[in-house]
């Protein structure tokens, strides 16, 4: 028996497809987001408030990774194109699922593509999709220890939203402890505290996102 040394990234096949998707987004000047959170963390609520606030100034499309159409239906009521990626019970989206779903939306007519990942704080972090920004949503009721329990998710984030801050008065949530965990894993991570229910904190998040959309669409110009 002999040993063949390899040292090759196991995710390389996924990452190659993600790179192709990314190239497509870049050529079209689309800003793409991969929204990740636990089930019930507020992905759909944050997306809906974001869409509602920006839909008159940017052309938005949404891809929803889910088994059922409940969330996708809610989002579609806002009048933006929505495509369901039926995950068939899978615990995450991967690059191939997203790439295969691209033709289901008219990408020429989109400035901002929001991809809602499967509710899960573990597996989605490992699969690149080809987006520009990984948006991680944590929420106050989940507890302040999430960056310690699920470090990988926070390590891969490009922007972090702490949602449901309207519930702070009723729960014990140490923001400093939470934020320290995040800062160690991902120094300098952009962080917004929001409530998708009351809209608190959304102005800062939306202003930041507007800048990112602008940067991307000017980068996409030939």
């Amino acid at each position: 028996m002999s040993k063949v040394p390899i040292v090759e990234n196991i995710m390389s096949a996924n990452d190659q497809i993600a790179a192709k998707t990314r190239q497509q987004f870049d050529e079209l000047g689309i800003l793409a987001l991969n929204v990740m959170a636990s089930p019930g963390g507020g992905k759909t609520s944050v997306i809906m408030r974001t869409v509602e606030s920006l839909k008159n100034e940017a052309r938005i499309g949404v891809m929803d990774g889910d088994m059922v159409t409940i969330d996708a239906d809610h989002i579609a009521e806002l009048g933006v194109p929505v495509s369901l990626i039926n995950t068939g019970g899978n615990c995450h989206l991967d690059a191939n699922m997203v790439h295969s779903a691209l033709p289901s939306l008219d990408l020429d007519a989109i400035d901002l593509l929001i991809i809602e990942n499967v509710g899960n704080l573990i597996c989605p972090a490992a699969f690149k999709l080809g987006v520009h920004l990984n948006v991680v949503i944590a929420s106050v009721p989940e507890g302040d220890d999430k960056p310690y329990k699920y470090p990988a998710m926070f390590r891969g984030a490009d922007v972090l939203l702490l949602n449901k801050i309207d519930l702070k008065p009723y729960l014990q949530f140490d923001v400093d402890y939470f934020q320290h965990g995040v800062e160690v894993l991902n120094p300098g991570l952009t962080f917004f505290q929001v409530s998708a229910t009351t809209g608190e904190g959304f102005d800062a998040w939306l202003a930041w996102l507007r800048d990112k959309i602008k940067e991307r669409s000017s980068a996409g110009q030939p």
Binding site: V7, N9, I10, M11, A13, D94, A126, A152, V184, P187
Partner: protein, 122 residues
């Protein structure tokens, strides 16, 4: 369910290298998994047995080298394993710490049977 996708990627890489080495059989794969990328649990062997069936990797075993993540203290330089409660240096108590390792996720090597050196009849 991510195990299926991961094992398919694993098989592709292993077969490519086995082919280049002109191996006739893969007996074992050694996979390095850092704590911060630990998306693979022990059930992956079950999926491996399914996806590797009919290939030269059929019947091979997956061997996991799990590496714990470590933090580095930016104040005193001490390096220590990450614990899931607090990110504070156990030596000097500083909270100025950063991640030193733990993101690994790669196929390190495969153990194979090589083709007999000469297949020609004597």
């Amino acid at each position: 369910m991510h195990e299926l996708g991961v094992t398919q990627q694993l098989l592709k890489i292993a077969l490519q290298y086995a082919n280049e080495a002109e191996a006739v059989r893969i007996n074992q794969l050694t996979i390095v998994i850092g704590e911060l990328s630990s998306i693979v649990d022990d059930s992956v062997q079950f999926y491996w047995d399914i996806v590797s069936k009919g290939s030269i990797a059929q019947g091979s075993t997956l061997c996991f080298k799990r590496l714990s993540a470590s933090l580095h203290c930016d104040a005193c330089g001490h390096e220590f394993p990450l614990n899931r409660l607090e990110y504070i240096c156990p030596e000097c108590g500083s909270d100025r710490v950063s991640v030193a390792s733990g993101d690994e996720f790669f196929l390190e090597s495969i153990d194979v049977d090589l083709e007999p050196e000469s297949t020609e009849q004597a």
